[in-house]
Amino acid sequence: MKFLAEQSEMLFYLQACMKVSPQRSTIPSLEGIYLCCVENEMNISATNLEVGIRCKFPAHTEKDGAVVLPAKLGEIVRMINDSKVEVEVEDNFKALINCSNVNFQLNGLNPLDFPELPDFNKDIDWTINTGLFKEMIRQTAFCVSSDEGKAPLTGIQFSVEKDVLTLTSSDSFRLSVKRGNIENVSGKEMNFILPVKIINEMVKFNFSQEKILVTLDEKNQILFKVDNFLFFSKLLEEKYPAIEKVIPMEFNTTLTALKNDLVGCLQRIILISEGNNFITKIEVRDKTAVFLANSEMGSVEEQVEIEKQGEDVDIYLNSRFLIEPLRYIEGDQVKLNFSETNGPCVITPFDEEDAYLYLVLPIKS
């Protein structure tokens, strides 16, 4: 195997792969990156058996072949001061990396030891706009649980019904629901839970294609295809709890506030409340909402200008749970809805109320 590739291009794809290769594994080849070149096309991939990335890019191949090289290859390519990288792999899987005045020799592994990875050779199930998908993930991934004891909540619930995708995430204290339009090519209805690992990586990329193609395979895996990438992940074999039913249909109080006012206020409140489990009291009156917090360190009180409809309300909430969704909501204004003192608080964007909803349960005093 022998090929010549652009340094910057190769680096970009290697770094993507390094995001998923495990630091330590009982299977040595998983710690490496799989490279395969056939007819001027490079294929590289990495997996931890739960999730994986495959990508392809053009390269000048002198001799076709495949190998598994240490993930360190990414760092080697990064530090090379040359626009081209030449890699030659001998029969014993030793790789020679040559450029201007540096010669690396890397010990590789047999590519047959690398697991066989899924391919997007099945029909598309649905497609979604790339920008919309990234927004939907951002607005839900942040409140996924990290508690292994609540296994189903460690992923995002995907529900596809006709041409609408609904994402639901929760850590049992709060809940995010985001709806978006898709093109449901297969017309199938589906419900599954996706662990957040791979999509958290996906949202960091700036893809050039407008559409992401999605399909589920028979091994309970989801595959996303976009640009030169194929991302895949195992689905959680769990049942998502029916928590959506806690969303109240009607509210006694609705307040509208400028998002930046709320964020600024909450940042100050957190300075004190973080010493007391983020407990914050909110007193909603006609034109103002008063935020109060105290801890062993001291106390803070801040008034925020608001518009209120409905009754006055006093409620205790976790200030961290309040500020987090505001980072992901578009627009200058947000709505906070309350039903009663011990009922949930529901936050929605000012204009597209149907598209996004965030619910947080109060703290009972």
Binding site: P241, N276, N277, I279, P362, S365
Partner: protein, 409 residues
């Protein structure tokens, strides 16, 4: 200002209380010990006459009999000892408001400023000793120092060995008196640390004091540094009176009556311990967010075991929220060798006045259930309401009910 700190220590505390209750025992070798048929049949306390025959604390009952055939065994009465201990605190409080019980038979007193009322330190100490002996019948020894460490060293190393039962260490005489002593005599040095230090060629307290402070710190971290400070008689801690002390954690541990090697039996005991810890936390109206599991192996010569902790996703005092974490800690770290002692503690405590509601479960209901169970047990006793697993072999609940610290009340 120079501080005056006392450490008051009761001589052969349990045995002395027994003799005070039954004066006919005076002058005879007396040993307080549990049931000689079981593991609890170890010496909890021996009076001076018994110690003269070679009997030591923690010795097996059968050994005592061979050393001293006329020895009188007395079963413990823990509640009496607690009462006498509390009575002593009351006596100490006539002299100072800063009394800190350190154990059942040791209490720290901050006497700074009291000398204008009661005279110089030695005189105060002798007067306290006199009142304790007259009112409780127990002989008290007092170590005097300028900080708690000096007081402890003065008491353990000198006051216990002199007839008046009083000794004073100061910053001036500390080095001259303690440095020639073997390293084992330094407060904070156990047999493992003694072995470590001997390997470095250190045999006396003076030897440790001569080491550079940095060396102790780099080798054993903060503990090493504290030992170095101890060797120099330096201690920055204060005597806080009990009323101002804050609870940082609650814990419960027990030594098993026999070594357990079956996982099921150990899990039964862990549940009982966890329940007790949670009950105590709930009694203080606290919830905690760090769980610690302590486990000691059965082999005395090869001490094994571990102490590991885990942070909870949210603070709680609900037994069944904490028990799965205890089980996971045990399963992860247990080496599958027989277990002699187990302990669970809950720390990171905070007020239980606030409860973050959950979408998945009715947390208030669980909290109310726990409280209701506590109230039943408070009124009708610990065996009035229990988990079915406490009826399985391995359970310690019924054996320990009515006992204090595992000894007869």
């Amino acid at each position: 200002m120079r501080r005056i700190i006392f450490l008051a220590d009761m001589e052969s505390f349990y045995a002395s209380v027994e003799i005070a209750r039954d004066p006919s025992l005076r002058g005879k070798p007396v040993v307080v010990c549990g049931d000689p048929e079981r593991r609890r049949g170890i010496v909890l306390a021996a009076n001076r006459e018994a110690k003269a025959c070679g009997i030591e604390t923690a010795m097996g009952a059968w050994e005592c009999r061979s050393l001293c055939p006329q020895v009188i065994f007395i079963r413990p009465h823990m509640q009496d000892y607690i009462n006498v201990s509390l009575q002593m605190t009351e006596i100490f409080e006539r002299f100072t408001d800063r009394v800190a019980p350190y154990s059942i038979d040791e209490q720290f007193l901050d006497m700074t400023g009291c000398e204008s009322l009661f005279g110089p330190p030695r005189e105060m100490a002798l007067r306290i000793n006199g009142e304790i002996l007259r009112e409780t019948g127990v002989r008290c020894r007092i170590g005097i120092g300028e900080n708690p460490l000096q007081a402890k060293m003065a008491c353990d190393r000198f006051a216990k060995k002199n007839p008046q039962g009083v000794f004073q260490l100061t910053c001036e005489n500390y080095a001259g008196l303690t440095w020639p002593l073997p390293i084992r005599d330094l407060f904070g040095v156990g047999f493992r640390m003694e072995r470590n230090l001997r390997r470095l060629g250190i045999k006396t307290i003076g030897g440790l004091a001569a080491l550079p402070r940095e060396k102790m710190k780099s080798r054993w971290g903060i503990n090493g540094e504290v030992l170095w400070l101890n060797a120099h008689g330096i201690d920055y801690s204060n005597i806080h009176s009990r009323s101002t002390e804050k609870y940082k954690g609650v814990g419960h541990s027990m030594t098993l009556p026999r070594d357990y090697s079956s996982k099921e039996k150990i899990e039964v005991v862990l549940l009982e311990i966890t329940e007790e810890v949670c009950r105590r936390a709930r009694g203080l109206r606290k919830v905690g967010r760090v769980v610690n599991l302590y486990c000691r192996g059965a082999d005395f010569d090869n001490p094994t075991g571990f102490s590991r902790q885990k942070k909870l996703p949210e603070p709680t005092a609900v037994t069944m929220d904490i028990y799965p974490v205890v089980l996971r800690l045990f399963d992860t770290h247990w080496d599958r060798l027989p277990v002699r002692a187990l302990g669970v503690s809950l720390s990171g405590l905070m007020e239980d006045r606030y409860l973050q509601l959950s979408l998945l479960e009715d947390k208030e209901k669980k909290v109310r259930l726990g409280r209701a169970m506590d109230e039943v047990r408070e009124r009708f006793g610990i065996t009035s309401l229990f988990r079915a697993s406490s009826l399985t072999p391995g359970s310690q609940l019924f054996d320990r009910a009515g006992k204090i610290g595992g000894h007869e009340a």
